[in-house]
């Protein structure tokens, strides 16, 4: 009798331990995984769809630059504050920004991520404890001839005020910041002029400012607008309206179309394209409305647009691909050909309508990554 009691107690103890542990593990398995950290792009993860993009794409995650080529990611810099890559016009090197504690600098890197030259020195001198003596450089770009560095730079800060509105600057490639010229004034407590894209005859950039300054009907809140300026110090010209709230311009390889992100004042981001004739943007066509799209980038061969967007609502940003067919009208169907064999005496047969063309959808290229959606994508053809 005593033995059986001990056995029963032991069995019950085992049941309690096993049941409790398994219940604990079961409940743990029911967590939503919303806080799971993104994987490094180089981790072998199954792709949502097997699509290999042409050339090499450079993009950023967690302070490292990655190159995607032939369907594989390669980490080309350590996780050390690297961001915002762009390509030299001849495709021989990269420009990128490297963040320090309170500053950021522009570097030249080889296509394999080795820094070869530092182009700015924005860290305050040793011993200067005031953090405002440092500077930011963002969104570096080289002119088509490779001779001019364009960037956003907070060089117009005033003493004794809080305004840190960066302006669009140009400086000789390899020159010093003293040779830099401010093309814009950066605005006043607005967030400044960002992401310059040099174009023939000037520069396109995103100006952040209070919408009511430009449109009496607009709300008095900060919005993004595409602007164009054709010379240093000129006032510049609006390309989009405050109510469109557009940003992050990207020009097509032929230079006749612009892709951008517009929010229309909401917590959404629409992928919008428009023709560009060198001085104005044409009618807008919104081609994606159901994703939080960022950093649209044209394929060098014109075959489509890559962009960043979450794969699940409120998730980290993944790489997506939108084939050209998704935003270009299909070619007109050929006219019906006459029936061979001479004149037809009877009633003409009803032509069979062509089958409807299925809509082309964006293709998700990565699943578990977390790309920096404020960092432009560079694409080498």
């Amino acid at each position: 009798m005593m033995i059986s009691r001990f056995i029963l107690a032991g069995v019950l103890a085992v049941v309690v331990v096993l049941g409790g542990t398994s219940t604990y593990m079961y409940l743990g398995s029911k967590q939503s995984r919303v806080a799971a950290p993104p994987e490094k792009p180089t981790a072998a993860t199954p792709r949502a769809q097997a699509t290999t993009l042409p050339g090499a794409i450079y993009l950023t995650q967690s302070g490292a630059i990655y190159r995607l080529s032939a369907g594989r990611f390669h980490q080309i810099t350590p996780e050390a504050g690297w961001s915002q890559p762009s390509l030299a016009p001849n495709g021989s090197s990269l420009l990128a920004v490297k963040y320090g504690q309170y500053w950021s600098d522009v570097y030249v890197l080889s296509l394999f991520g080795t820094p070869t030259r530092q182009l700015t020195s924005n860290q305050a001198r040793q011993g200067m404890n005031d953090p405002s003596l440092n500077h930011w450089s963002f969104f570096p770009r080289l002119s088509q001839d490779g001779g001019t560095l364009w960037m956003t730079y907070d060089g117009l800060k005033c003493d004794g005020c809080f305004d840190v509105s960066p302006a669009v600057y140009s400086m000789p490639f390899g020159g010093t910041i003293r040779q830099a010229r401010a093309w814009t004034d950066g605005g006043y407590y607005s967030g400044g002029d960002q992401q310059p894209i040099p174009v023939p005859g000037g520069v396109i950039y995103t100006k952040y400012d209070y919408g009511s300054k430009y449109d009496a009907k607009a709300e008095n809140k900060l919005v993004g607008m595409m602007w164009f300026s054709n010379r240093a110090g000129a006032y510049g010209r609006e390309l989009t309206t405050p109510s469109e709230d557009c940003r992050t311009p990207s020009l097509s390889p032929a230079g006749n179309q612009a892709a951008m992100i517009c929010t229309y004042g909401k917590q959404v981001s629409y992928l919008t394209i428009a023709s560009w004739n060198g001085s104005t943007l044409g009618p807008r066509t919104t081609i994606l409305t159901n994703q939080m799209v960022a950093q649209p980038t044209w394929a060098p061969d014109g075959s489509g647009i890559a962009y960043l967007a979450p794969a699940v609502p409120d998730g980290p940003f993944q790489l997506w691909w939108l084939p050209k067919a998704a935003y270009t009208a299909p070619p007109p169907s050929p006219p019906p050909t006459p029936t061979p064999g001479g004149p037809h005496n009877g009633p003409l047969p009803t032509p069979t309508p062509p089958p409807p063309i299925p809509p082309v959808k964006p293709i998700q290229l990565t699943t578990n990554n977390g790309f920096d959606a404020t960092s432009p994508i560079a694409w080498l053809g």
Binding site: G19, T23, Y189
Partner: protein
């Protein structure tokens, strides 16, 4: 049973510590403007979840510069939820609003919590704005950061670059009076807790100062609400551990359970109304850099959306 008990023990402890807080509403000595003199928010039985309700959200700098429980509320947002029509209205109250405090005298509204805790903050809002507050939620700086990290970050379209050369370096610093430079770039992005905090807290680079900050706070609140729809009850232990005393609320556990599914049913972003009390509702010139309210303009607006 034992496993479930062990699994939810941290959540239960945190819930015991942080929810259902009894609020002693501090009545105004003169009861000016009071429309609900018997208001005792926590004592009000939880209305059926089909009925409309109003929550006061409070956010505080609670770093080591301040004594605990004597902190200012840099963020005060009244939220009205109407489940039947799936409408949400968020009204940001400027922290510098010069009002009649429920604890006596006049001052900036952000001081009410400092003088008398959540009860005084609620009573001040109730008497000055003529609304009834059903419940409150208070979150400290670190609490917001931990909350956003615990839910894996949020997706926000940051409306403008937030660049601040004098952002307070007081969260992870042993010297809470220092400054640091921060830069949150504009556009759609996935923000972790620390960068979301920089986005909603910075005010030096915005001409609208606290009002611009209020707009950003509402953006982040909506993003948190959106992300919360993906949570499951099994996430509660991790969430409660993350808070670590940085959250207080008068909402009881039973009401939390009722609210979670309700949050998921609000899908239409157009049904969310955001109100900022900028000019003409407020204007400068009040003592200590505070803002004078134009009650003649504010009260009709408030009564329209917070009946």
């Amino acid at each position: 049973m034992a496993g479930a008990f062990a699994y939810f023990l941290p959540a239960a402890k945190a819930a015991w510590d942080t929810t259902g807080a009894v609020v002693r509403v501090t009545p105004s000595p003169t009861d000016l403007f009071t429309t609900s003199p018997t208001a005792t928010p926590s004592a009000t039985p939880a209305a059926a979840i089909t009925g409309a309700f109003t929550i006061l959200l409070l956010g505080s700098d609670d770093d080591s510069k301040f004594y605990s429980d004597h902190v200012l509320t840099q963020s005060m947002i009244l939220v009205r939820v109407v489940p039947s029509s799936k409408q949400v209205t968020m009204l940001s109250i400027p922290r510098d609003l010069y009002v009649h405090l429920s604890t006596g005298g006049f001052g900036k509204i952000d001081g009410a919590y400092s003088y008398g805790g959540a009860g005084a903050a609620i009573a001040t809002v109730e008497q000055d704005f003529g609304v009834h507050v059903d419940d409150y939620i208070w979150v400290g700086l670190l609490g917001l950061i931990k909350l956003i990290d615990a839910i894996g970050g949020i997706d926000v379209v940051t409306s403008n670059p937030v660049l601040d050369d004098y952002y307070p370096a007081d969260i992870y610093s042993s010297w809470p009076y220092g400054y640091e430079r921060v830069a949150v770039l504009a556009g759609p992005q996935h923000l972790d807790g620390i960068h979301a905090m920089q986005y909603v807290r910075s005010r030096h680079g915005d001409l609208q100062s606290d009002l611009g900050r209020s707009q950003r706070q509402q953006q982040v609140l909506l993003a948190i609400r959106q992300k919360a729809k993906q949570l499951s009850p099994a996430d509660l232990p991790a969430m409660s551990t993350a808070f670590g005393g940085e959250l207080k609320t008068s909402i009881g556990l039973s009401k939390v359970a009722q609210l979670l599914p309700l949050a998921g049913s609000f899908d239409n972003p157009d049904a969310i109304r955001q109100i900022i009390l900028a000019s003409p509702y407020t204007h400068g010139g009040a003592p200590d850099g505070s803002l004078y309210p134009d009650w003649g303009a504010i009260l009709p607006l408030v009564h329209q959306y917070f009946p």
